[in-house]
Amino acid sequence: MESVLLEQPVGAESSLPNDIALVFTKPPPQSDHAKPRKKPSSRFGGLSPSEGATLPPLTYWNDDETLPRSNMGGCVGSLVGQYGSHNTGTEIMLAVDAIEQHGARVLFIAAEDANGVAKTRLRAACTARGTALAGIDAHWRTETETFDLLSDTDRVEMIEAYREFAPDLIFIDVLTRVVTADINAPETGMRVMQSAYALAAPFGATVVIAHHPDSTEAGGRCALHVARRFLSHGKTQGRRGLDPCREDEERP
């Protein structure tokens, strides 16, 4: 092995302490890679590790921490329960809680029973809380029109119609009424997931999809397992079957 002896310039020993002091006082020059990236114009581009680490933590719309609040481009989840297990009532409670506590704007796509939700259920929830219906007018919309979640046209129209309202929470009640495909097929599950995120992303909203499994609990299993970001099961205790006053509105 050869060793090379480099000749030191005159005065090198005296300049060394100054160089050391300079290193610790002057910020190092940043390379091009270290500069913060601008937000890409395309929806693709991803996050660097440091950008991902600085994302805000998961927050919730309610104190029970069952309804997450999107911190990045919306989130999608499911609320699964048999007929008569108060799915719609639970959704309305979560929505009104979010309005009262956080001033959320709620879009309720009542595909199963728009009339009942708009005329009776929401009014009953507000009456029980002592809240005036007019008090939440600016925060609530019940969508009564038929809606196909998998239809690009329907989604674009829906997003355009509510662009000004800008909902923070979107409830879809129920899945089987907004999907015109075999929800047990895996590809349908993927399309449901993509469509729900496509609905959530423009508003940065939380989308909650209610679903009634069939008696064998096989219905919608594929769709839900692909689509969910969070999944909650609703169950009624102490009473079985349909509530008589809900019989018309809850039957498929």
Binding site: P57, L58, Y60, D64, E65, T66, P68, L79, S85, H86, G89, T90, I92, M93, D97, T120, R121, R123, A124, A125, T127, A128, R129, R228, R229, F230, L231, S232, H233, G234, K235, T236, Q237, G238, D243, C245, R246
Partner: protein
């Protein structure tokens, strides 16, 4: 009541259940005089949560149920002294039908009836099974059963109990608290 179980929550806690209260809210009465009611869901109040928790039975103390200490032996001696004597005679885990001949005969002449029916000792084995109980309500003999290796249908085997000199000495007739015989 409505139970909402959070099965999955990405980047957040899951696997917990939140319970809500349901109630009917009367809205108005129609022309026929019938009131319109609608179900609502609301958060439970603190007293309601406490009342609900009070309904939940306490978790079984499995360690205490399986203990083979002096207390368990004392219970067995109180309820089935002949079984305790039999378990002190054996030296290895034995089947119920092998232990049954060591037990006392019942007063209702059940052994003779079993012999007539061609099922000898069946009543004694049934008695042992009652003393063992089941998983939901284990009996006094349950701690002294060997683990069932062949599944739920495998026969029970009882484990031996080492003879205790202290317990033998503490007979009812000459416990230390009794007055000495004159």
């Amino acid at each position: 009541m409505v139970s909402t179980h959070v099965e999955k929550m990405k980047n957040g806690p899951d696997g917990f259940t939140v319970r809500y209260k349901t109630e009917l809210v009367a809205l108005e009465t129609d022309e026929m005089g019938l009131s319109t009611e609608a179900p609502t869901v609301r958060a439970m109040t603190a007293p309601e949560v406490e009342a609900h928790k009070a309904k939940t039975p306490p978790r079984p103390d499995v360690a205490a149920e399986n203990a083979t200490d002096g207390a368990a032996i004392a219970k067995l001696e109180r309820d089935a002294p002949d079984v305790l004597r039999a378990l002190r005679q054996i030296t290895k885990p034995m089947l119920l039908r092998e232990i049954a001949p060591m037990l006392d005969a019942t007063a209702d002449d059940a052994d003779a009836k079993d012999d007539e029916k061609g099922t000898p000792l069946a009543s004694r084995i049934r008695r042992l099974n009652r003393l063992i109980g089941d998983t939901k309500s284990p009996g006094v003999l349950a701690p002294f059963t060997a683990p069932r290796t062949g599944g739920r249908t495998s026969p029970h085997r009882l484990i031996p109990i080492a003879p205790s000199t202290v317990e033998d000495e503490l007979r009812t007739e000459d416990e230390p608290s009794d007055a000495p015989a004159s």
